[in-house]
Symmetry: none
Subunit: 128 residues, 4 copies
DNA sequence: GTGGTCTAGACCACG
DNA sequence: GTGGTCTAGACCACT
């Protein structure tokens, strides 16, 4: 059985859940470079969801260079945890930029923004 | 003529644009507590969009206590700029908590998180 | 100046506010049987609202026998406080019947209903 | 076929009928937590009303935490019967507090109020 | 298939 | 005039 899961009650789209999930497995070292991912069909069967959804997740992962899909031979991880972490940090910054735009429009100062960020990181319950 | 506008080319939903727009007018003091908003129909005519869309925006604003709608008498602002700002700041912190959860799962430290927040707020428009 | 007021920010309809207001003045003895009410026009001017609204309130009060309007001579109170109280009690019971119907549909027992009523009367902040 | 119905002759708004109806199905155990609701379109077809009206009802139910709507995946019940009953009881008490305010202003005593409540619940259909 | 948004145009009760 | 609801029919993104 795989470590990959989905939560049908989560608002996030299923394929996005899969993408995030697999990225996290790489970041935590549970999936390493060159390791093989479960096949689209087997994972779909295991999770009880549509193979198209798995396919979409794998395509997205390939698009951003995290895995490599070799037709007929399955998919393997091709990115190192530290590379991925840098990308994730960039993605986080992007999201923070979006938030800062909204914040500026709402008249929130840089100081308030940073204070809120600190509170959020420290106060937020550990891992959800 | 009103200060309220919408951008048909913006991918953001029209009614959300209206909600944000009106909240911002309150935050900047251009709309004050007890002031009357344009009627659903007149604003629809002015902006060239459907009255139902205005209605939806006004309903949302009433639901979160920003305006008060009196059937047959129009809608008035019932929240002070400073109250609204406090609420907006709380909403921002909520979103930052979500982001911090993702960040933690990706192994991003508090220091990295705060640095990214600073960069985001100061940098402004990097990837956008 | 009259004791009669309206609150433009109240959700209740203006004419209903007037009706309730005048009934309460009678119940508290501030308006007694045979006393004269202000004229439609003068009250409208004083409150800054449309005479039609006052007219509607007076008509409603006449319809339920609280006042008598004599064309050209104004309106006078024709009901005693104790009669009015009996009517108000009947009206209250009607509203409670509506609520009890909803309550029954929601599976709320008689005991729970009465307990809630006691809590409401005792706990409710004094006069709003 | 679903248990959900609407009465076109009822003066109550259709979307409110739907909201109450679905809440009651949960309270009576005919709909349980995690169960799927009919899709917006299929229910609209079945009841012969417009999908927008169903949409409005479902949005309202989601807003107050009774159901969870997952775009593209349908809507599911997310509240237990007992939680919902507690909420309904709280809502009832709120309405009773409003009534008790009016009652106090009309000089109705606590004893009279409770007696009226008992009569109302037991009597059932006097003036209705 | 699913929900979500938007338009066009209608009706009602109320002020 | 006002807001509120409803219908009919369209489009989008996503499963």
């Amino acid at each position: 059985m795989s470590l990959i899961t989905v939560d049908l009650r989560d608002r996030k789209q299923l394929y996005e859940q899969l993408v995030d999930n697999i990225k996290n497995l790489i970041l935590t070292g549970e999936l390493k470079s060159d390791e093989k991912l479960p096949s689209v069909r087997s994972l779909a069967r295991e999770l009880g969801i549509n193979p198209n959804t798995i396919q979409k997740a794998y395509s997205e992962l390939e698009r951003c260079g995290v895995i490599l899909t070799l037709p007929g031979r399955g998919s393997i991880v091709v990115v190192q945890a530290d590379e991925l972490k840098r990308e994730q940090l960039a993605a986080l910054t992007d999201k923070l930029i979006q938030l800062s735009h909204e914040a500026k429009k709402a008249g929130i100062t840089g100081e308030e923004f940073i204070t809120a960020a600190k509170t959020a990181y420290e106060g937020g319950t550990e891992h959800d």
